[in-house]
Amino acid sequence: MTVTPATAGPEVASREVSLELIGLTRRFGPVVALDGLTFSVPPGEVFGFLGPNGAGKTTTMRAIFGVVAVDGGEVRWRGQPVTEEARHRFGYMPEERGLYPGMQILDQLEYLGRLHDMTASAARAAARGWIGRLGLAGRESAKLEALSHGNQQRVQLAAALMHDPELLVLDEPFAGLDPGGVDDMTEILAERARAGVTVLFSSHQLDLVEHICEAVAIIHRGRVVAQGAVADLERGDRPRLVVRVAGAPAGEWARRLDPRIATVERVDAAGTALLALTPDADSQRVLDAARAAGAVEHFSFATRRLSEVFRDVTGEEA
């Protein structure tokens, strides 16, 4: 299991890059789906792709596979424009899941493997392997429609993994999964990343993304509005303090602070103040000011949740 490293560096741009999306634009009639979208994904890590509904996530993923043609911009893989051959080494799990309901799952996976340049026998072996790995052993000849919803999702994941892809793109892979399914999915994504695979997935479940991803890109209206290591985004550019002083419900003491030390972001109804420290300011000077105003009931550093970052940059809830 990969955990978010607290020390991930801020130099995203200088890291090794495998997938690059450069200035993608796409219009659907009057709707601008992609508006100069640019970001890159390094190999060997799980990369989250976030944005409100309609931000252009699915269009971006489809563009990677050439399923949607872009009006402008380019998708590059390992420094080269994506070719048909390269695409056959990509794995894709679309948001709108789809397989043949009436086809046996082993046949179905074999077929999809062969469409990715596998021989029939290699595809069959890989299909059996994934069916076993995903806990579906014994159901090889079952038709997809005979499986439970969760198991159909597992088959869909197997379809994306069959040919051992170098790039794995998953659109909302956690949607509709039960907690066990979420754990399995998390483990598989982390394991693929450790094996050197570039993993890009979109999600609305920001707590999951926080937990799984090293880095994310957040898009809004077809443009990237924030990107970088999760830890950097959560820390933000200024450390923040949460302080509550008894008998000071309006937090007047905080408003008297020297703005060169800290500024008030907000004060809630209970009088808890959220303060943004200026860089290099000493937090103990804030504590002194608080104690001078009354009994300090609470004093801590705040970290922003990814969901707050998301709300800040998109103006919408995830």
Binding site: F65, G66, H88, E96, G98, L99, Y100, L115
Partner: protein
């Protein structure tokens, strides 16, 4: 490099085709439809032949004298052809012909001069009373010859002439073989065409198309699908033709006599070209819908030309000479697959005209395949409401 890409393109397309053949070929629906169609063909060939061998008694009118001698001739002819006969003396040729026209009589023997029937068939071996008039003519002719021998009179032939009241036409068996061809072309194109549309609609509505199109291009999926289903359609057609010929030969059906090589070849050519013309159109229609239940609505316009040609084909089969309108249909690519085999089988067009029609159909097929591929590529990933043709065929598509 280029040929390598070409091979790769074909290989992926073949994998798509192979899946269609395997999945559909082993489905219960395919097995059941094959068995039912073969039974229908076998029954269609065998039942008329079996009924014909127990032909209903024929009413034979005789004109002239002596009635006893002519009755003897008719009885002998009935015996030879294993047909029950009833002899009806008629006062004059005119009254006999009137009875023939009204259907009161089947055959008329005019003493020593001729045999009259309602219509002479070219092969002389078809349908009701087809062989009885010939036998009567032969026996009567022989009788006349024997009677004339002592005076040493010359004879122009051993059999009397057989005259039809209405002009002769292509034999009924030829026409019926043409009908068989038309039914086959119609059934296969509409049945497999709707399967194509349903299959495309299914792939689009359950979104597997997005998974597949991540590794193959839309054109490969389209070509693979129609080829795979086409192979199954041809296999089923070949089985039906084999059954038609096999059962026909076994029961000695007159239908099979009409299966001249020309008709069979024309039927096969128009079946293949007709399928090729329509298969991509059906696929394009299927790609317009978002729900599989809407497929029926979008394929109806595709089927209308076929329905028209099929419905009107009966007028050609049961009439003498096709209308100008139907001849025109025989050259228009959408209706030619059904209309031209009928026209050719009925003897209404010469072989070269069938060949011209086939070339026009082949050209039309290329045009249709390009248009349909464009529609398919532009609409296969569009979800939501049904895609309008105007949206995908405009100059600036917004897919």
């Amino acid at each position: 490099m280029r040929s390598g890409m070409h091979r790769r393109w074909l290989r992926l397309t073949a994998i798509v085709a192979e899946r269609e053949i395997r999945q559909r070929g082993r489905s219960r629906a395919f097995a059941v439809s094959t068995v039912v169609l073969l039974l229908v063909v076998a029954a269609g060939v065998a039942i008329p032949a079996i009924l014909a061998s127990h032909a209903k008694p024929q009413r034979v009118g005789v004109v002239g004298a002596p009635v006893a001698g002519m009755t003897e001739v008719v009885r002998e002819a009935g015996h030879l052809t294993d047909t029950g006969v009833t002899v009806v003396p008629e006062p004059s040729v005119a009254s006999a012909e009137a009875a023939l026209r009204s259907g009161d009589l089947d055959v008329v023997l005019v003493n020593d001069t001729e045999v009259v029937v309602k219509q002479v068939s070219l092969s002389g071996s078809s349908g009701s009373g087809g062989s009885l008039p010939s036998a009567i003519a032969a026996v009567a002719g022989l009788t006349k010859l024997v009677g004339q021998l002592p005076p040493g009179a010359t004879t122009s032939g051993v059999t009397l002439p057989v005259r039809g009241l209405t002009p002769p036409s292509a034999s009924l068996s030829r026409r019926l073989t043409g009908l068989f061809t038309v039914v086959l072309v119609w059934i296969l194109i509409s049945a497999y065409g709707s399967q194509i549309a349903m299959g495309v609609g299914e792939e689009k509505s359950n979104r597997i198309v997005e998974v597949i199109l991540a590794s193959v291009r839309p054109l490969q999926l389209l070509v693979g699908k129609v080829t795979g289903i086409g192979v199954l359609a041809l296999a089923q057609a070949a089985l039906m033709v084999a059954t038609f010929l096999g059962v026909g030969a076994a029961v000695g059906s007159s239908l099979v006599h009409g299966a001249a090589p020309g008709i069979v070849i024309t039927g096969a050519v128009f079946l293949v070209l007709g399928y090729a013309f329509y298969c991509t159109a059906f696929a394009a229609a299927g790609s317009l819908v978002s729900r599989q239940s809407d497929v029926g609505t979008v394929i109806l316009p595709v089927q209308i030309p076929l329905i028209l040609a099929y419905a009107l084909s009966y007028t050609v089969i049961y009439a003498n000479g096709a209308s100008t309108f139907y001849r025109v249909l025989g050259f228009l690519p959408p209706t030619a697959p059904v209309a031209m085999p009928v026209l050719y089988a009925a003897g209404d067009v010469p072989a070269w005209q069938a060949a011209v029609s086939a070339v026009l159909l082949a050209v039309g097929t290329v045009w249709m395949a390009r248009t349909a591929a464009t529609i398919y590529e532009r609409s296969i990933l569009r979800t939501g409401s049904r895609v309008r043709l105007r949206q995908v065929l405009g100059r600036a598509p917004v897919s």
